[in-house]
């Protein structure tokens, strides 16, 4: 698999099909992987592929520093790839402006990341080339949202207490925002102070408002790559929040972000049949 990956990238660079390959590198087999940006075919050997390739590299497609390097090829897992689908829907990139190298992936992380345990995207769908092959399990919604389900067994009061605790810990380092492929706003709402939508302080109040906003701004957009959760230095389990909206979207609108390239974005469309049992 690795050889095929490296050869593919070498070719892409040599043929001038792309200017940069965004992939995974690694100091040594023990250390975690880090992103590499390969512009010279000679360097493709720096590319690695293993179960330490956690980062969702798609987030780099939004960064001006990377855009300035020219047309890019990107190494993407099935889960990461969904972010590309959404970005395209939201006019953030033209599909043919990036060459997607899809990696067959049965899960990453030691131990396996929670998302991998319920992943139904082992095989990439929209990639320009798919490297490797692995069977794609089908996962039903109950399994997909099992974690949330068990969390919701807590009483509302307990849930509230839980999030207050988490928010007390939050440093507002914005790693969750910065690492998210969907957070491409030029000016984040949290940085607006006229009006002050969200207290910029890392106070419980400010953090609470921030996490509500972050999660809801991803409504119908979050592809569940869980990077926000992985990178949180104080270990806040943000995936529960993302999941709660994703679940609602799937239940109420049969919608999963980034899964069906032809599906209408749910924020921005509506059905006259949308439920309103909660509206008096």
């Amino acid at each position: 698999m690795l050889r095929k990956l490296q050869n593919t990238c070498r070719q892409l660079l040599l043929e001038g099909k792309v200017d940069v390959v965004i992939g995974y590198g690694q100091a040594d087999s023990e250390s975690p992987t880090h992103p590499v940006f390969i512009t010279d075919a000679k360097d493709v050997k720096k590319l690695v592929w293993n179960d330490k390739c956690l980062i969702n590299l798609v987030t780099y497609l939004k960064r001006p520093e990377i855009k300035s390097l020219g047309k890019s090829a990107i190494v993407a897992k099935g889960c990461d790839e969904r972010a590309i689908v959404v970005l395209e829907k939201e006019s953030q990139l033209e599909r043919d402006s990036v060459f997607v190298i899809g990696m067959a992936c049965a899960g990453v992380g030691q131990p396996l990341l929670p998302k991998c345990k319920v992943c139904d995207a082992h095989m990439p769908q929209v990639a320009d080339i798919i490297i490797g092959s692995v069977e794609n399990p089908s996962v039903d919604a109950d399994t997909r949202y099992a974690e949330l389900k068990s969390f919701l067994k807590k009483s509302p009061e307990e849930r509230h207490k839980h999030w207050v605790k988490e928010c007390r810990r939050c440093l507002k380092c914005y790693a969750c925002r910065q690492t998210c492929p969907m957070c491409y706003c030029e000016r984040c709402i949290v940085d607006v102070n006229q009006p002050q939508y969200i207290d910029s302080s890392a106070s419980t109040k400010g953090n609470f408002a921030w996490h509500i906003t972050r999660a809801f701004h991803l409504a119908g957009r979050c592809v569940g790559c869980d990077e926000c959760t992985r990178v949180c230095p104080v270990g806040i389990d943000l995936r529960l929040l993302n999941m709660s909206i994703a679940k609602s979207a799937e239940q109420n609108f049969e919608f999963r972000a980034g899964v069906d390239p032809d599906a209408k974005p749910i924020i921005g469309s509506y059905s006259e049949q949308d439920r309103e049992d909660f509206i008096r």
């Binding site: 030029e186 984040c188 009006p195 701004h217 921005g268």
Partner: protein, 666 residues
């Protein structure tokens, strides 16, 4: 530094009885930026307004709050007052302490407390108000009328006579539409063509009207006052300008076998033809599928015969651009295609009536042609199969209408009337014949309509049977019509020579595609949607686009004409000013921070948001952002709510204003 004046109104006792107005004024006077806080018996009265004007001038107020009744009641009153005193009218806010307070709360203490809060909120808001000026948009005083039927003709003539240019687009080679093919019209039985053709001629000759026949609307861009329409002129192979319409060509054309569209296949026409003698323009077109020259390359007789050298076999489809300020859609209707049409769920379509199978089962428009003096039988009722005059004729109404199972649920409205008319026309021509009618109900709402139906039954002896027909079969050239008379409660079988089906009215082909080009809504059946069923019956969701005639729903001629004149009047309102003035309380994009996700565009019901490329001086694309078209924005603010970076805001109800109101409650 804002200088805010607050004027609290007693509204006589209306407010004062449950709200301590003096206390409110005193409390509000303490607020920052509040320059003066005054209470008075009747703020809306002339003395009240005079006082307000004085204060504005004397204190040089930059904003004011009127604490009184609902803004729906008096906001405009006080905005005017402000304007007259030199204060921007959009610097006025109202606190509704009457409808929302004094009238609904008896406890004076609580009501007063609430009133103070409501005024506080208004003050907090007005602090953040900005001066706004109404937006002027230039108007192109030309109208595009799509469809040259009676509705389109009426609208076009009204507007042209008012002195404005009209561009009319008609898909067929001639204008006239359905009405041109009718024989007589109910309830007066006057000849359809006699009343229509003069109007058609007027269209052809009117100096203010540009006529594009044999043409279709390809694309419409822009917005109210500023539309750009591209019109596809189909290759006609005849130069309309040089052609004299002498008729030599169609009289000498060897290809004569094409069924005539105008006669619904009951007659034939030549390959080069005018659809009917009174056509406007009275210039022929060549049917490229029937023309021997165009299909086989030989022939060209017409070309040789034509004195005016008007024939041009190299003619091509052409696009013409027309700039207009308004669009009137009058594309009319077609009949439910019995037995064929499967375009709607569950429409199995009346195959059992044998339409298309038995030549003597025809639809109502075909009957109109048979009855028409200019028709294929010159007005004699002769059945298609053998030209025999039918002695027994059966009319079946509601074929497709009011039928969820096989047709459409709605009533086609005109069938009852024209069926009665048909029986009369028949009886007047075939005195010894019998006309049977199968009906569900007779709907004859309209001036002289009921009387008309009674006449058909009582004077002309039409046999009305309340019931449906289940099946039609043929035996030795006779049609066996099996039905039931529900009043008699008996099955009823009639041996008929001819059967006429009053089939449902549906929007003409392509109506939906056109609606999409114009961003006009349409219902499940393709009828175009008016923007309010009662108060805005000819307007549509897209400003500057109007509907009239049967494209909006089944209608008879008088209704279509009335609606057409209404659409004309609405258009003339737009043309009555040099510039359109639009409310400035609309959305605006902060292009510096817009990230171009275009969620705003997806939620906008008025197509008011467009994508704009920001380029560097050397033309390099920097980014693509959203921009609001002030001509289209209606100011709902849905875009503001969905914009994650809050790069779009709504003047008059900005985020700043709303949030300061909420914060003022802490």
């Amino acid at each position: 530094m804002a200088k805010i004046g607050v004027f609290t109104c007693w509204c006589g006792e209306n407010i004062a009885q449950n709200v301590d107005v003096q206390h409110v004024a005193a409390e509000i006077a303490k607020l920052p930026n509040v320059h003066c806080s005054i209470e008075y018996k009747y703020m809306c009265s002339e003395p009240g307004q005079a006082m307000i004007r004085e204060k504005i001038a004397a204190e040089k107020l930059t904003g004011m709050v009127i604490a009184s009744c609902s803004p729906h009641m008096h906001l405009n009153t006080f905005r005017k007052a402000a304007k007259n005193a030199g204060l921007n009218p959009y610097q006025v806010e109202m606190a509704n302490i009457r409808e929302h307070c004094s009238w609904v709360h008896r406890n004076r203490e609580e009501a007063t407390l609430k009133a103070v809060d409501l005024v506080k909120m208004a003050v907090a808001k007005v602090r953040k108000n900005q001066e706004l000026v109404p937006i002027d948009i230039p108007v192109t005083k030309r109208v595009l009328v799509v469809g040259g039927g009676v509705a389109g003709i009426q609208a076009a003539l009204d507007i042209a006579d008012a002195g404005y240019e009209v561009v009319m687009v008609e898909r067929e080679p001639s204008i006239g539409g359905r009405m041109a093919g009718l024989s007589e019209t109910f309830p007066t039985l006057d000849c359809s063509q006699c009343i229509l053709t003069p109007r058609m001629v007027d269209i052809g000759q009117h100096p203010n009207i540009t006529l594009h026949t044999y043409s279709e609307v390809a694309k419409v861009e822009g917005f109210i006052g500023n539309f750009k329409a591209s019109i596809l002129k189909k290759a006609r192979y005849v130069d309309v300008n040089t052609c004299t319409g002498c008729g030599t060509c169609w009289n000498s054309c060897p290809s004569k076998k094409t069924p005539s569209e105008f006669d619904f296949g009951l007659g034939t026409r030549t390959a080069i033809y005018v659809p009917f003698p009174q056509a406007v323009p009275a210039k022929p077109v060549i049917d490229q599928n029937a023309c021997i020259k165009l299909t086989k390359g030989k022939c060209g007789v017409c070309m040789k015969k034509c004195q005016a050298n008007a024939i041009d076999f190299d003619d091509k489809d052409a696009l013409v651009e027309e700039e207009v300020g308004a669009v009137i859609v009058a594309t009319g209707f077609k009949l439910f295609q019995i037995g064929k049409e499967q375009d709607l769920e569950g429409q199995s379509g009346y195959g059992e009536y044998g339409y298309d199978k038995y030549p003597d089962v025809i639809d109502s428009l075909q009957f109109e042609r048979l009855a028409s003096a200019s028709g294929p039988t010159n007005g004699e009722i002769r059945r298609p199969s053998d030209g025999k005059v039918p002695k027994n004729i059966v009319f079946i109404s509601c074929v497709g209408s009011r039928d969820n199972a096989k047709g459409v649920p709605y009533c086609s409205k005109v069938c009852c009337m024209y069926t009665a008319k048909h029986t009369m026309l028949y009886k007047h021509k075939v005195h010894d014949g019998v006309a049977h009618v199968f009906y569900m109900d007779i709907r004859a709402g309209g001036k002289n309509y009921e009387e008309f139906v009674r006449r058909a039954i009582e004077q002309d002896g039409a046999q009305y049977h309340r019931g449906r027909v289940s099946k039609i079969t043929e035996k030795h050239g006779t049609l066996i019509v099996r039905g039931v008379d529900t009043l008699a409660g008996l099955p009823l079988t009639i041996e008929a020579d001819m059967v006429v089906l009053a089939s449902a009215i549906k929007p003409t082909n392509g109506a939906q595609e056109l609606a999409q080009k114009l961003n006009v809504g349409y219902d499940n059946y393709g009828f175009l949607s008016e923007s309010h069923p009662k108060l805005r019956p000819v307007e549509t969701a897209s400003a500057g686009v109007f509907v009239c005639g049967a494209c909006q729903g089944p209608k008879d001629i008088p209704e279509s004409v009335a609606q057409a004149s209404a659409a004309a009047a609405k258009t003339l309102v737009i043309f009555s000013k040099e510039e359109l003035t639009r409310d400035p309380e609309i959305a605006k994009v902060n292009e510096k921070v817009c990230a171009g996700c275009f969620t705003c565009q997806r939620v906008c019901a008025f197509n008011a948001i467009e994508q704009v490329d920001i380029r560097s001086p050397n033309g390099k694309l920097i980014k693509r952002i959203a921009r609001v078209n002030p001509g289209l924005c209606m100011g709902c603010g849905t875009c503001v709510a969905v914009c994650p970076s809050k790069s779009v805001d709504l003047s008059g109800t900005t985020e700043q204003q709303v949030y300061s109101m909420v914060k003022s409650l802490t």
